[in-house]
Structure formats: C-alpha cells, structure tokens
Amino acid sequence: MMSDPLLPSPVPVALLGRDYPGLRPRAVVAEGEVVAPGQVLFHDVKRPEIEFVSPIRGRVASIGFGPRRTLSAIVIEPAEGGPASPANMLPEGGDLRTYLLSRGLWPAFVTRPYGGPPDPEARPDAIIVSAVPARGSALDPQAILSDRQSDFADGMNALTELTEGPVHLCLAAQSTIPIPANPRIKAHRKRFARDWHRPGGQVARLHPVGPLGQVWTIGYQDVVAIGSIRRTGIYDPIRTISLHPEGRARAQIMQAPLGADLRTLFAADGALSPELEPRSGPHGHSHPAAYMGRHHLDAALAAVSAPRRPTGPQPLIPLTGLDRALPAHVQAVPLMRALSIGDLEACARLGCLDLLEEDVVPLTALCASGTNYERCLRDVLDQLQKDAA
C-alpha cells in the first residue's frame, strides 16, 4: 500500500459547490465510505471527464445538494482504512489533459469569463499563474516555492501544453522566483498597479477577456501540485495557508489540506470564540465560511457580520472608493447600476466578463443600497453564458 503524503494533523475537509458554480455532481462514492486522498469522489454530470478527488483519507460524512441538484458540499471526516491512494504516473507520450482531468487537478483552473473549471477540450488564449501574495496576506510565495522549485518549473512547463497562447506568470515587484526557461512563459512584475494582487486585476492587465476569448487562472501552489503529480504520480492536496485571527498582529502560517475545516484550524490555534466567525478568502474579498475555499490561501477570524437589511428601495451613492475596489479599467458605478437591474448588454459592455463574484465583494460591503452584487454578477454571467451557447 502506498503511503499517504505527509499530512498535517487530521482535519475535516469539504468540497464546496460555491467554488464550482452550476456544478451538478454524480457521486461515485456513498456516504459512510472511507476514501483515500486522490480517490475520485464525483464527477460533473454535464462534463463527466472532470473528476473531483478527495483531499484526505477519511469517511464521506455527507453529500449535500443545493437547488436543482447542484453541489452544496461534500464533507469528509478523517478516518483510517480505505483503499490505497491512486499513484498512476502520466505514461510516456500520454495526454497531459486527460491525466489532469482524471487525477482531480482540472478544478485547480478557473475560467474567465463565467468562472468554474474549464471545459475538458477548451484551449485558452492564455493561462495566468498568480504568484503575488494577496494584500494583507502573510504568505510569501518566494519562500514557499524555494524548496519546490523543480516541481514549480515542471508545472509551469506542463501548462504550456494546454494552450497555444502564452503562460503569464505574475510576480510581486521584488520577487526573485526563478522563471523556467521557456519562450511561452512570460513573467510580469508590476510595482504600482493597485489591482495586481488579485487574479481579476491580473487578467484585466495581461489578457482582458472579450466575448469570444477565454483565459484560465491558477494559483502557484496548484502549479506545484501539477509538477509534483507528474514527478511522483501522487496527488498533492496540501497547501500552505495563512490564518489571521482578529486582533492578532501576526498571522499563523500552516499546512492544511484543500477545503480544510476552518473552525478546527482556528480552534487548534486557541483563537475561536462565539463572537468571531471564520472567513475564507483574501482580505476585503472574503466571505463567511465553514471550510476553506478551493482557490483560497488566506482565512481570517472576524467579528460576526450581520448584513443590514434596508427597508424599501435604497439608492446607490457613488463613493469614490468604489472604483478602487475593482480592476482599473472597470468603472464601478455604471457596472453596479447595470448589475442591479440585470442589464446584460450593458454589463458585458462595461467589462463584467473579466470579473467573478469574488472581485465584486467590496462593492457589496461599500454600497449604501444593500444590493448583493455577487449574486447579481452570478445571475448576469449565467444568463450571458446561456445566451452565448
């Protein structure tokens, strides 16, 4: 039996529907079954090639569905036993795309426009790798990559096989991460771009998405996981994350599996209290969550926020700070007006195809009207996707 990759202390994990908008799962495991890390849990009904795998060895505690049989959450609790982890290598001359699809690494990509994992046969115009620490994050990509440089380089080279276009590597201004010698890999450093630390801003600056274009984004630790599975054949679900409990100056950096239970992580740290709730995502773009998001490396513990429910229709006040919350070329107030009335044509013209829910989180927090722009954007993107199909 192959041994599992070196896991930190056991922690429950979940795969969340929130990370895969519109995904309808067909489970291949049953509740109560013990699964191995890297073992397939379910695949997408509409695109069965895309497999989703378990990050840990554990028992499938629950499979929850949302509206229209979409995925709500699959929770796995640590347990012993179960089958061996899959460890098949990519055969010599084998198709990398099929390999990543079947080994559960495909959901590491996020497509723009529309979000979610890309279509199995899609070829993006560009792939954008983000190795810029989120604003306020304690993580240092350079330190994390320092002892995994060969896996990172392998992963970056692997990405060039998935697109005919360039693979953009986004770096912090002072970063000295070695860049793999491949003419298709282009490194970018921007010092004064205020939106450079977010995938939304990187896409907007390097490769804005037109109505017919497609760009994939992926995080640097997922690129390492791709390099690692190509070298060893073993799925690497462990990510270096940072936890920011409120009122503490120092964040805690730790290793945790994808989708880790945040209450367990914070409880181990002794930071949990009833007035505080865990939030997943980078500062300013996070949302209350029980489990870490698939693409998140930052979590915080913050005072419980109750959304204020205004009585009657409330106006949108055009604060100057709204523009600073979005990628530079998107004008916030016209977009907010178009989103709140669901004007598809105007939204597309104003650049909403470059955006995903997480990019507009600050608009909801800042807007006096109490509109939930994440939900508005998701509705508009779903509708535009349906119209485009």
């Binding site: 804005p208 037109g210 109505p211 017919l212 274009g213 300013g284 926020s305 959304p307 204020r308 429910r309 205004p310 009585t311 009657g312 229709p313 409330q314 106006p315 949108l316 006040i317 055009p318 604060l319 100057t320 700070g321 709204l322 523009d323 070329h329 004008q331 107030v333 016209p334 013209r349 104003l350 650049g351 600050p362 909801t364 927090a365 800042l366 807007c367 006096a368 009207s369 109490g370």
Partner: protein, 265 residues
C-alpha cells in the same frame, strides 16, 4: 476602509446626509455668527420648508420619514442674503426640493442637487437677488468638512482639482493672493454643489471632465473676465455641469467600450 464600509453599507442616502450635515456645521456656524438672528430666521424657515416636503412625500409614498432635506436647507442658507423675503424663500426652496429631487424618488435617485436647483431658480426668477459670496472665515470653515467628505469618498478629488486647474488656467492666476481669492470665492460652491456625489459624473475620466466643464462654465457665466466667478456664476455652472454629467459619463463609457472592442479585434 472596512470600518467605513460598515458605516455606509445598506444605509441608503442616510449616511450621505449625515456626513454632509456634519461637514456643513462649521460653515453654518460661521454664517450664523456673521448674520445673527436674521440668518437664523432664514435657516429655520428653510429647515421647516424642506422637512415639510420630506414628510409630505414620505407620507404619500408610505415610506419612513427621513430628513434628507437638512443639507438642502443648510446649503441654501449659506448662499442667500438674510433679508430675503419669506415667500421668495418658500417658493424657490419648495420648487428646488420637489422638482430637483423628490419627484425622482429622493436623495440618490435624482440627477440634480436640490440646493443647486433652488438657488438657480432663485437667481432666474428674482432679478433683484444677489447671492452672498463666501467670506474668508466661511471658506476656511469649509476645510474640515471637505476633508471629512474626501476621506469618506463623498468628495471626488478629480472633480475639485480639475475645476481648480481650469480656473487657474483661464483666469491666469499667477500670484498667491489671487489663488487665495479664487479658493475663497469657489469654496462653498465647489465642495457642496459642484462636487455633490449624487449629481456629478461617476466615471474616472468623467469626473475630470465634469470638474473642467464646471470651471469653464463658471468662467463663461462670470463674463469671460479676469476676476474670480461670483456665487451666481458658480451656481449656474454647477447646474449645467450636473445636467451634462450623464452625457459625459456616456461619452467616457462609449470610448472605453470602443477601445475594448478594438483590443479584441
């Protein structure tokens, strides 16, 4: 930023009115100090008029009463002379409140500032009326409010700076004294009328153009002279710039869309 977000989030125009009222307190204090009981009388009458309209529309629409007219009354008081006949005040302020704001659904839904509309109507229909230019003390008292509005994102630096740059260029301001005179005369109108967030342009370049347009118009309305514009010219410039703001935004957005389309071929 997050603290402030929770302050404004979901409060509608209430947060805007509260912060603007706070910003208006120092200039109002100076104005009352100068004008004495006569100005106090104007302020009380103006407050009564706007609050009655606020209450009437809230009752007719079955909404909660919200005193959004407070800022309208305060700004109006800063401009009009203390000897303004009461019935003049009632008529122009009522028209300003109702056709400038209330018929559109209230603060934040309208595209004009009710104070600007009331003052412009007063200037148009009352030929004997001259608005009082701000004194240096009044202009100075606007500074803390301007800083507050700037910090909370309710005053756009782009609008204010482009207005001042255009003014400096067209007036040929070269000495420190003339710059101070320009800042004094435009203080109240710039902070509370031209930069009013609900009636100004909302795109980045739109804000620059809005300020520049207001500056250019103020110069034209003041008679294309060398002196700084009077309060009347500034009010009309603010009104015309507000009327043009949606067009300015439309032009900027069309240009952006064109550039985006060209980029994607």
């Amino acid at each position: 930023m997050t603290r402030f977000a929770s302050l404004m989030h979901g409060r509608g125009a209430g947060g805007l009115v509260a912060l603007q009222s706070l910003a208006l307190l120092p200039p109002l204090g100076v104005s009352l100090w100068h004008g004495g009981t006569a100005t106090l009388g104007i302020l009380i009458a103006a407050l009564l008029v706007v609050l009655i309209w606020d209450y009437a529309f809230a009752a007719l629409r079955h909404r909660r009463f919200e005193p959004h007219g407070l800022t309208t009354a305060a700004i109006f008081t800063l401009f009009v002379p203390a000897d303004m006949p009461l019935w003049h005040l009632v008529v122009v302020l009522s028209l300003g409140c109702v056709i400038g704001e209330r018929i559109f659904g209230g603060r934040g839904f309208a595209f004009l500032s009710p104070a600007t509309v009331a003052l412009a109507l007063a200037l148009l229909s009352l030929p004997d009326l001259t608005l009082i230019p701000p004194s240096p003390a009044l202009a100075l008292a606007c500074l803390p409010g301007a800083a507050l509005l700037l910090a909370t994102g309710l005053l756009s630096l782009r609008i204010a700076l482009s207005f001042l740059v255009v003014m400096i260029l067209v007036l040929g301001v070269s000495s420190f004294e003339t710059a101070i005179i320009l800042l004094t005369t435009s203080s109240v109108a710039l902070v509370f009328l031209i930069c009013d967030p609900t009636s100004a342009a909302v795109t980045s370049w739109g804000r620059v153009l809005h300020g520049a347009l207001a500056g250019g118009l103020a110069w034209v309305f003041a008679g294309v002279g060398d002196g700084p514009p009077g309060a009347g010219a500034l009010v009309f410039a603010a009104l015309m710039a507000s009327l043009m703001a949606p067009l300015i935004d439309h032009i900027v957005l069309s240009f952006n869309a064109w550039r985006r389309q060209r980029h994607h071929g």
